[in-house]
């Protein structure tokens, strides 16, 4: 048992390091779940409204894909919790993956683990400590969620079934991240591998609901932990026994992680390393080229995901339209999207959501500048004939171009895959994707502002995104005052073509973007470099 020595100490160290991050995540998660639930409960006061909403969701492949089926159209919880049920496990899993990688491969990559492992700390201790920490976080999440949702007025036992299914999904992906952390040498690659597995799980769950019947999902739902979470059918019969699947997977994955940890050397991954180029490509001669080169993996991954997503959305839209040809559907669509053209309504609805994800990508690209600075890699760059303005500008250009290209990818892929006769034109779809760009850039520019002004608090950029998400998802349902809703840049995006194009808000958003970028640049080019 020497291999586990030091687990307790490492666990305390991890708790100390995460004492701010973890509670903030839990609070954000709680706000999302409980806020969303309270809002949705208020939305469906009577039986009739529930049946209508459930019918709409269950008839729309896009909704089935995103959130899953409403298994019991009569149960308030099943209808009201459609989003928390659909995404609760996924959010928990993202949190879990990030925590585990942060305390395993990141530590190893930075060389800090070498210091620790040289003390009386066993080879299994880091993974075990990370998984224990995540287990605790997930338990906390489950308790807080169950109590919160019960307080929002839903049955307690179902609330617990749902909360536990989310926490266990999270823990399953924690164990998976424990495995990927052994496979790759870089923390980023470990995160990407685990998140790809999560995306695949989500796709299995989504397609199984689209392909399934009102009674059961297609069989491949059972091949995915996200699918199991759906199959628990919280608030619609609470199939507790499904929860038993999770511990099996968790134990199997955790044992695999421990085995791999025992086999490999410190710093080594198990995936092979190739020899690289002895000289740099002729293209690698500017800060912009370096920025792109450093984020190559991320950019390729993002574009591949957007191509897949847009094709999927297009295909779903094609199948959706026939189902939507009833008066009830049209009125529901008009209420969510402001137009009765099914394809357009669908696209407005989805683009609104995807714009948030594109903003997330923008932040991800922007914050790389801070990562480079904190790691001390900006110093050798600035010691060459590269000015700070150029280094900053290269990152800004990468972020703005990436978000633009992602939105364009979305529109083009959608148009290619959509086969409905009354669907829009490529120009219209491109326009619909483009109107969100100023709002996306405002969020991205917040990250740049923070890099310049508060380099040690750049994580606040995520708060800006989370706030916008919360305002967009929950605000209108809870009838928040328009002053609060106006805080999110996405509130001001014109919903063309359902509403006419409005240039004024777009110009204002662009002006805000420019102001934020300018203020960030002003501080960045004057201040001292700030180490981590």
């Amino acid at each position: 048992m020497d291999g586990f020595r030091g687990t307790g100490t490492l666990l305390r160290l991890a708790l100390r390091r995460d004492r701010v991050v973890l509670p903030s995540w839990v609070v954000a998660y709680l706000l999302y779940a409980v806020g969303g639930t309270a809002a949705a409960v208020a939305l469906y006061p009577d039986f009739r409204s529930r049946l209508d909403a459930a019918a709409a969701v269950n008839a729309l492949p896009a909704m089935l894909l995103m959130y899953g089926r409403v298994w019991d159209p009569h149960a308030l919880g099943s209808v009201a919790m459609i989003k928390p049920i659909g995404f609760g496990g996924i959010f928990a899993a993202i949190l879990a993956i990030l925590i585990v990688t942060r305390h395993t491969r990141t530590e190893e990559e930075s060389g800090r683990l070498e210091l620790v492992r040289a003390l009386a700390v066993g080879r299994w201790a880091p993974v075990t400590a990370a998984l224990t920490l995540t287990g605790g976080a997930m338990l906390l999440l489950a308790v807080v969620d169950a109590l919160g949702v019960t307080a929002a007025g839903l049955p307690a036992s179902s609330a617990w079934a749902w909360a536990l299914s989310c926490a266990l999904t999270g823990l399953t992906f924690a164990a998976l991240a424990g495995v990927t952390a052994q496979l790759t040498q870089s923390a980023r690659a470990a995160n990407v591998l685990a998140l790809l597995a999560l995306a695949a799980s989500f796709a299995l769950r989504g397609t199984s609901d689209v392909a399934g019947t009102p009674q059961a999902s297609a069989w491949w739902a059972w091949a995915s932990p996200v699918g199991w979470q759906d199959q628990v059918r919280a608030f619609a019969g609470d199939r507790w026994w499904v929860l038993a699947l999770f511990p099996l997977a968790i134990v199997a994955l955790a044992l695999t992680a421990l085995r791999l940890a025992a086999q490999r050397d410190l710093d080594a991954g198990l995936l092979p390393q190739r020899a690289g180029r002895p000289t740099a490509s002729p293209l690698l001669r500017s800060p912009l080229a370096l920025t792109v080169r450093l984020q190559r993996g991320l950019l390729i991954g993002l574009f591949a995901s957007y191509v897949a997503l847009s094709l999927l959305l297009g295909a779903v839209a094609s199948s959706a339209t026939s189902l939507l040809d009833s008066a009830g559907m049209r009125s529901w669509l008009t209420s969510v999207a402001g137009t009765s053209n099914a394809t357009t309504a669908f696209l407005i609805f989805e683009l609104g959501f995807v714009a948030l994800i594109t903003a997330l990508c923008g932040i991800l690209v922007a914050l790389r500048l801070r990562t480079e600075e904190a790691a001390g890699r900006l110093e050798p760059l600035l010691a060459t004939a590269v000015s700070r303005t150029r280094a900053y500008g290269a990152q800004v250009a990468t972020a703005l171009l990436t978000t633009t290209a992602l939105q364009a990818t979305l529109a083009i892929g959608f148009r290619l895959a959509d086969t409905t006769p009354q669907g829009g034109s490529l120009a219209q779809d491109l326009g619909m994707a483009a109107v969100s760009l100023p709002a996306i850039w405002v969020i991205t520019a917040v990250a740049f502002l923070l890099i310049g002004v508060a380099p040690r608090a750049t994580a606040l950029a995520w708060a800006a995104l989370a706030g916008s998400m919360l305002i967009g998802e929950v605000g209108p349902l809870l009838h928040w005052p328009s002053l609060a809703l106006d805080l999110s840049p996405f509130t001001h995006v014109p919903r063309i073509p359902a509403t006419p194009m409005a240039w004024a808000p777009e110009v204002v958003l662009l002006a805000i973007t420019a102001a934020l970028l300018g203020a960030g640049w002003w501080r960045f080019h004057r201040r001292d470099l700030a180490p981590a």
Partner: protein
Amino acid sequence: MAPVIEVHGLVKAFGSTTALDGLELTVDAGEVHGFLGPNGAGKTTTLRCLLGLLTPDAGTVRVLGLDARRDAVAVHRRMASVPGDVALWPTLTGGEVIDLLGRLRGGIASKRRDALIARFELDPTKRTRTYSKGNRQKVALIAALASDAELLLLDEPTSGLDPLMERTFRDVVREWQQDGRSVLLSSHILSEAEALCDRLSIIRAGRIVETGTLASMRHLTRTSVRAQLRRPASGLEAIAGVHDCVSDDTTVTCSVEQHALDSFLAALHPFGILGLETQPPTLEELFLSHYQGA
């Protein structure tokens, strides 16, 4: 010729710690200037100010006749540097990093680059993540030494290098100097400073406490003298500049300041000198006297 580095009254504080406290430093064209001082004295901070990476709180920093902060880019085209903590992009290979840094400075001579890679025995195809400490250091060194800059800033450049590579490093720096170019070398390795440097500056707690050639600094310290006499001597301590005399019958050992050597020997003469050993102060003693309190 005009000095390549001129620093006057440089002050830099980080919060409540004053890292540099009125630093004065001049490096002449064509010289290798050693920059020595205890840990935390402010060497790295000074070099970062010279690179324009930090904004001084007070004082002027001129490099190659330009303002280090305002004209940073113009300065960097003519100045190469090796940082104290070498952080490299983990997914790039050593060869890619050398090329990238060279090009961003304004061009790299591939013949010189390849020659240096061969001399330092670096494998340029490995990703920097997988390099050993010494090999990471070599990447930074080659990137700087391959340039055609006029001035080289080196912050503890040989940390992690094995003795063989250290010798290669000294050879390359001497060649650099033979081309008429200048070097500011921060180091903890006294033999390295002694072998390479024309002049030295010693920094302590953010101030330069001594500048000059090694020979001129030696004058400031005492020579230890051990004399074998015919008769036991007395009264030596009374001579100004003579300290720590220990007599053991006919053998005396004293430490003597330079200006007192003449009168000390004259005082010994009456007792009959049979043997005499003198030891110049070692470098260690020289620096310890500067590093400690004093």
